[in-house]
Subunit: 283 residues, 2 copies
Amino acid sequence: MHIIKSIRGLQAWRRKHENHKIGFVPTMGALHEGHLSLIRHACKHCSTVVVSIFVNPLQFGPGEDLSRYPRPVKSDQQLCRDAGVDLLFWPSSQEFYPQDFQTLVKVHRLSQRWEGEARPTHFEGVTTVVTKLLCLVRPDRCYLGQKDYQQLLVIKQLVQDLNIDTTIVRCPTIREADGLALSSRNRYLSANQRIQATSLFTALQQGVQAIKQGATNVWAIQSRMQKVLKKYPGIKIEYLAVCDAKSLDQLSQVKGEVVLMGAIQIGNVHLIDNILVKALKKS
Amino acid sequence: MHIIKSIRGLQAWRRKHENHKIGFVPTMGALHEGHLSLIRHACKHCSTVVVSIFVNPLQFGPGEDLSRYPRPVKSDQQLCRDAGVDLLFWPSSQEFYPQDFQTLVKVHRLSQRWEGEARPTHFEGVTTVVTKLLCLVRPDRCYLGQKDYQQLLVIKQLVQDLNIDTTIVRCPTIREADGLALSSRNRYLSANQRIQATSLFTALQQGVQAIKQGATNVWAIQSRMQKVLKKYPGIKIEYLAVCDAKSLDQLSQVKGEVVLMGAIQIGNVHLIDNILVKALKKS
């Protein structure tokens, strides 16, 4: 496995691999089974697999966890090596955002809701870093997890709108045995918080069950989900929504493919999760 | 010469030309000797030359000349053919900006001054369309005229900030015999306005002359330039500035490489021009 830490080095590498089919997994490191499953998907379908590790300061708001975000350098490298990654791109913040850096890429409508409301500058940080990485790596396929569902849609929109020649591949959310979606932020949770955290997935599952039983009134479905979370006074619900799976418009009636999305705050840990589900056909 | 009018067609073409050295001249059509000189530069240094013609609605403000902007389709095609262009990319607005389009690319500091003040959403329209075109064409070199000097710097910054793998090549401004910089908008001028229009270049030349004679006080240089333009009551000065040639910061003392930039309004025609000049070394 090559490790490249400079933009110029990456550009030279990329030119040499002009005829390879390149799969790309962008990450912020602190790799877990979720990232590894993305890497496995990439290895299966591409001749050359690139992983980037970059804790992108631009996507953290003031007061968020940029400085304490985990950076287990050695073990991340080993995990990539063991997973069969061909190239690990690990740029420095100084090179990635030099002093005169002044360009932002913004996906307007899709970025402004849900996570965008909770974290106002988050998505423009994401779309800017992803545009840079896609221009550098020029992958045939870019693998993203469903766990960050809104991010996935925002990046799909970005790639479509800017005509970036990459296919975005959605991979399933990887979960702990008790259902908690894997996240690098789970390690912030205390033992007690960790137990409460599973209730987000439980709530979403309750919503799915309701829909599968034929419920269509979103207000009723949301109440049922809220009830699960309200058992825990330590949990602050940021949003809990039933949306159209493509536009992320909040629905009043369940129709077509929908996504149940939730974000909660436990202590100062921000956790998100979602489930996709198809509405029952009217009989 | 191929003419391609769809994004999908362009993408297929681009894949087939993976190993060519591609030179690119983005235009809004209404081609004149300025564009043709860019095409000649491209032909000289690249194996394959792509020209795009797209009157980009995103870079026109409300009340600007989008609808009346000249579109001489047949003669533009012939000019490209005669100039030895390999591919003419001529997309439709509908395909380029579909209904759900929602992504904007913005270069912040450099875009906000001068032309950016006169035309507040102009540069985000330019940087968005150029990002799309560069992602589609993926040229090795992209040829731009010095006439739109701020635009040139903004695009250079964009390419650097987003790590787009293209070299921006600056080509000299082409002028009429009397000094007027070529522009597709010159055809809007009446005979009388046409005569007055040359005074912009005359004013900038006066500034250059002052600097070459050792003037360093920008206020004095600006007055000298203004004096030329104030002879014509039909001319409204939008700005007339002596700036650092890299940052476009307004200077108070001439130092290093500077750009004299001006924009005027004659009737409802907006004209710009600039000259680069090096300050005399202190003796």
